[in-house]
Subunit: 306 residues, 2 copies
């Protein structure tokens, strides 16, 4: 089982109330790949500039991440994002975005890549997401992430790709923005009516709500006393969810619930340090222990049990 | 096992996007008592005016609610609140508050009431809460609710009563307002340091977080497609929590978790109709069925289970 991810590899400059860093690794596909690689083989399709060094590429080393399609463009610079967080850490304020090599990113899958088991379309232009999907023989599972920018600028394209995938990962505010419906459950059902089987709604510090045609699952976020840098939490979450699902034979309700907890576990590690500093150092044992912590956090028994 | 509640019985005028009502029953102690009475005997200490009719009092009939100390003041009017909600339903806009008989409310417990098993101090002046507590022989369990108004106007009094009770029920925004700490877990620990054993944080549509010295428990809210009127949800929740706890021999982690789910179940019914219209018509069977729905909503299994 393996997963193909198309998205961004980037450099970030970050400022949080707890520190400041001028250049660190970032990008949706970076967080996603490292997270997913704890569970499955990952093939990364992305583009970087010549400022992306072998030292930078070490983040992917020693993991099951295939970099054959991490394209390096000579004479150009890597996608750069600069952001700032206040004390509540829920909203990033973008200070600067330089698309650089990412502006002309037109992923071309090779023959091998046209048959992925699982495909994840990270947050890029929904027209590009659709083009990538069209290049594949229909994978077993196709999922995507998106952002508010595409809802306001490319609504029709988003509607098309929403109807063409199996699983949508999206922020709560984006669900309401897309549907103009205040009630979250109703809004989710409207999106599911476009065609996907599963909607996974990210609610930041409040956790995740998963809605399918038959069931609803609510998972809290891990209540951390020290959140250092929320950058990449959503991409890490997606990596955990899809990585786990790619490692399993079937995608049904029970596996989806476990996947959401694994995604939440990984995201809870990511925010403990800057960039991927914490995510890259954890072990499977750490992941499994925190999965058990989530069980303790949410467990209540049947009232008829005594 | 029984519970003594001191709080308000009121008339409300409500406007939501789904309807409008000029006069209906409300008040923290009203919602609390009806909710708690599904589990235990309730003794209600409150005051109303002569406009509170026998027809109004029917809400308490046929339930295990003792009204001996529901004082009716001749020539005076019942506490009145008028509020309005927009489509997001999370924030009530107060249009009018008339304290009326509630302005001079000085609860005096009789001999029998001085020995309650469980005492709930609904959202009233923290000095009044303290005076009521002083009138009792230390009950097995003392809990309170409060509001942002007392945090800004009577901070010292609130600090005193926080240190004198076992269980505090409070909104998330109020935790941050009281502590001036953005991280919720840290903020909760600061409040627990004042003396209480258990802090139950209400997060509206995001559910509840319970923090004790030894454990954290997160419960989602029930994802309703139709929320009609959120008035009284918090008081109903408190009634379910304390009513269930009053019915049990011990207050430990397992019972607290069940209590929070029962509180969430009852609150999810309250918001389905105006005022107490839905809460008053449900059966224990309805409550138990929705408890099971909460289990289905939150359940995920151990990943080692297959």
């Amino acid at each position: 089982m393996s997963i193909l991810v198309v998205g961004s590899v980037a450099f970030d400059a970050l400022q949080t109330p707890f520190g400041k860093i001028d250049r660190c690794l970032g990008g949706s596909a970076t967080y996603f790949s490292v997270a997913a690689s704890y569970f499955t083989e990952v093939e990364l399709v992305a583009v970087v500039g010549e400022d992306f060094t072998d030292e930078d590429a070490r983040i992917f080393e020693g993991r099951k991440i295939n970099l054959d399609s991490l394209q390096r463009v000579a004479g150009a610079k890597t996608f750069f994002w600069s952001g700032e967080y206040g004390y509540d850490l829920n909203v990033a304020k973008t200070r600067d975005t330089q698309l650089n090599v990412f502006a002309d990113f037109k992923p071309q899958l090779n023959d091998r890549q046209r048959h992925p088991d699982v495909l994840f379309l990270a947050n890029i232009d929904p027209d590009l997401q659709y083009e990538v999907l069209q290049q594949t023989e229909r994978p077993r599972l196709v999922a995507l992430d998106t952002m508010n920018y595409w809802i306001s600028s490319k609504r029709d394209s988003l509607e098309r790709i929403f109807g063409a995938v199996d699983l949508i990962i999206i922020n709560e505010a984006e669900v309401r923005q897309f549907t103009k419906e205040a009630n979250l459950v109703k809004a989710c059902r409207q999106i599911l009516d476009l065609g996907a089987q599963t909607l996974v709604v990210k609610r930041g510090e409040y956790g995740v709500l998963m809605i399918t045609k038959d069931a609803i699952f609510a998972a809290p976020a891990y209540p951390l006393e020290n959140v250092f840098d929320p950058t990449g939490a959503g991409d890490t979450f997606a990596g955990g969810v899809l990585g786990y699902l790619a490692s399993r034979a079937e995608v049904h309700d029970r596996e989806l619930r476990r996947a959401i907890i694994f995604g939440s576990v990984l995201a809870s590690f990511t925010v403990e340090k800057f960039s991927l500093d914490r995510l890259r150092e954890i072990s499977l044992r750490d992941i499994h222990e925190r999965y058990q912590d989530f069980r303790a956090l949410t467990h209540f028994d049947d009232f008829g049990a005594d």
